[in-house]
Symmetry: D2
């Protein structure tokens, strides 16, 4: 297929590369063009604007950091919206708000373009290894057409509904659940540490018995080792995602009290200097609240 | 070894049976003696009192429902404390308070008896299959002597420290973490359901990607299916354990805000009739708070 | 003075009327012009647009329902910004976000206009009786010039700083504190009711001893009488203000955990049908959580 | 009347003194007898045991620090229970648990004695000035007989029901409401301080407008001045009362989420060294969470 990829950050770059490796024709665009260099040597065409990239493609992916970046690349001057051919598909893989996803759907529909939301779970290493989990939603035939592309970037695709925004809700709720693991393991660790239990042994026990999921192992060990820098995912961005989950709740009058608590703890951690640390540093709040250093 | 087993409920009965099968000499006692019948046919001696059971043994296990039952069986008239030989070991596998565990340690020590706390993770089926996880703490040589017994009832033993109460803290914190999974998955499900996502599909996605731990699968499905009866573990008992976790926190000035929130939601669920349902019914609160039936 | 007044709702109408009675020349504008009728008979000039109203005045007041209404009346076509004379003052009395207040300050400054934030505490009856409390902030000489106008609408003016947005923060924090009274009295009432205490007697005791403030009396009685309709102030609007307080906290990394809790309870009440009831209906959540009808 | 008074601390001493001044015959007992000295010179009889004090009286007051002290003075050896004449009244003014109040009622009833719960609101200065608020509950004729005594120690008596424990619930809920004022004002102050508002001016505004109740003035100023020592009422004791309120909620399945939050913040403050400070130091948590010193 003829594919464009917009946004070549830690996640987008390897995703684009995997699409190229799978044999698709690729045009890329990034705000800072340096990131496109080695994709160019691998055979990708590099565009000067988002519009130019989206001009003649079947599918354009966007993988950007937040709502503002997506709005600018899609609705801005020389953006995707004005250039994408009728019938072509915009696949939004960014973690964005439900409200923006709904607006994308409406605007693309008004322009006779198609829109699929397909956020992903997985960190940069998973993106490189084409092992992402793709959570997709949209009109069935549009989703269907994208399946070979999803197969090129991920290990499995889950279709969650025909309304694109459903995929965004699922992604945000998933990030909330990850944050809840950090918070709860942080609280449990503060408790057992104050009772003299060795935290390393504790996490080993948990993650080899009831909590064998990688998310417990990854974050449990980061917390125990207090290895909050360099950040795999900054607390500031984690807070943003928790806010988007809360906003998704507000849209449908669904409170998320644990998410509220995490938001408050994240603010507290940021107010005390942890904004640029890994979001596992959220656990510092539970430790400090228990009088631990 | 010469072993006594006190408390033949859903968990204690299969544990006792596995000790018998492993070739140990077993004396049992239960408040309601009927439960001892088939163990008797399998070769166990049945006592009339806890004291009689504990009289000549190397090790006496207690596996009872709460602090009051343990206090009665140990400190009461014709209880374990007055009968257990000097140097013999009391293994407490019940989920009890840290405070009671500390008192047991002290009283046994004054009576020149040994005390090991060895609560277990796992449900009745795991107890039957000798697949429990044993979390033990106590004086090393006492723990060491019990290892063959732990091997007979569980798949793995984790020694968490030399203070018996540490094992109780670890057990309570583990139950708190399980409750937090119920709460958080319940909130996430309320959110995605209100956005039209199919809850079954959602849980399938979660538990085949980031949250592969059995605890997510088990409770995710119970919540989706609203299969709260018959109760595997009653909400009322779940609340008791969360309270014990909070109390363990109070002892060392460690707040557990998510546990506080779960406690409040459990009270709310019980006030609205869910006390005898499975503790996964905690998720009803998140659903009702979002206006779902 | 030559004064314009924009927004003639429950609060704005009596405020405008009091300015007229104090002898100021008044021009008014309201989106639905009927509301201006009796002010016209009392001597006010009625304009067709916000711009026309603001054209030749010394001071223009805006008293509108939310950020969107203020943005439209000020920044929109035929809005205040394009018409207000250089050196004239915009007094914003609406309960708006801190972010919008900061934007107003900047835009007016760029247009060489002056900007004073002067939200008020008090309900419509207080507005009629010219008994409002005015919370003002802005450049001292601009605030000074407005003092006679504030005196015409309120019983006391508090100058909280030279940055206009400070007044908005103070207003939002005040509304948060009122909401906290509703929430906490609601919880206390649920507790004492379940113990058999007469709720009326309870509120009488509280409000004639430690909690003599009118806010406890007003809301305590509304909750006891379950008199949630007609709404003095709708829960939906109350939630909006709590959100604005939370947003003001996010701007400076200050968590407000009780506000988070109130937000969650308000969402729950709205999800269960209380959106158009008085915001004292927030107390329904505490009652339901305790299993009370 | 012939009255005994047990417990001559900061509160009990002035209460006893006022009973004496009102012309009643008074016998006193205190664990540390020095405290009784100046009451003796004022005409009181001093006993060596609680039992001796209660032997021949119409009414015995207890005003002690916690459940344990009351249990010891009433149920212990040479305690009130064994000595109080049939038909005589025990007035318990201490802040104790609902559970203990229920037990007192039952035990006194079994001993054909009467029992009235009559906790008080007010600080030591109010006790000296006979300006306490008395919250009483019990069998009407017993309460009636005590009215002259209540009149001697307080400015007003509120009869809250015929079950004595109701008065304790009311007292505990009142202390919860005071704690909620500290928490909420603490949060609001953290917010406005971070936006540059002068905290002193802010509290002055609040307490001369919507929040004129003394409780806002007292605690608002303590927080602003950070005057946490010497403690008027220690945070550790404040936490105890919040726990008793939570326990009263648990008895009837009534969650108190703001009380849970306060408990967690109090634990956090205590874990960080504030246990012996005034309970207004609870506000340190909100300040620290916002990154303020």
């Amino acid at each position: 297929m003829n594919v464009a990829f917009i946004g070549l950050g830690n996640m987008g770059h390897p995703m684009a590369h995997n699409l190229l490796k799978a044999g698709h024709q690729l045009t890329v665009w990034n705000r800072t063009p340096e990131k496109a260099k080695n994709l160019e040597s691998a055979g990708a065409k590099v565009s000067n604007t988002a519009a130019e990239a989206a001009r003649n493609v079947d599918v354009v992916f966007t993988m950007l950091s937040d709502d503002a970046a997506v709005e600018s690349a899609v609705f801005g001057k020389r953006g995707v919206l004005e250039a994408l051919p009728k019938g072509a598909i915009h696949v939004s893989s960014s973690t964005i708000s439900v409200a923006l996803s709904q607006r994308l759907q409406q605007e693309h529909s008004e322009h006779r373009q198609k829109y699929v939301a397909a956020p992903v779970f997985g960190r940069p290493e998973a993106a490189q290894a084409a092992k992402l989990f793709v959570v997709a939603a949209g009109i069935p035939d549009a989703v269907e057409r994208c399946q070979p592309l999803f197969a090129a970037i991920g290990q499995q695709t889950f279709v969650m509904g025909t309304e694109p925004a459903m995929a965004n809700v699922v992604k945000l709720s998933g990030n909330f659940l990850i944050a809840s693991v950090i918070e709860c393991v942080g609280e449990a660790l503060a408790l057992v540490r104050k009772h003299g239990v060795d935290p390393k042994q504790y996490v080993d026990m948990l993650t080899s018995t009831l909590f064998v999921a990688p998310v417990y192992k990854t974050y449990g060990n980061l917390i125990v080792d207090q290895k909050f820098e360099p950040a795999g995912f900054k607390l500031r961005l984690g807070l943003k995602d928790v806010r988007l989950a809360l906003a998704a709740g507000e849209m449908v009058d669904a409170p998320l009290p644990v998410a509220s608590l995490i938001r408050d703890h994240a603010l507290s951690a940021i107010a005390n200097g942890a904004g640029d640390m890994d979001w596992s540093s959220l656990a510092l709040v539970a430790a400090k609240n228990a009088g631990l250093k």
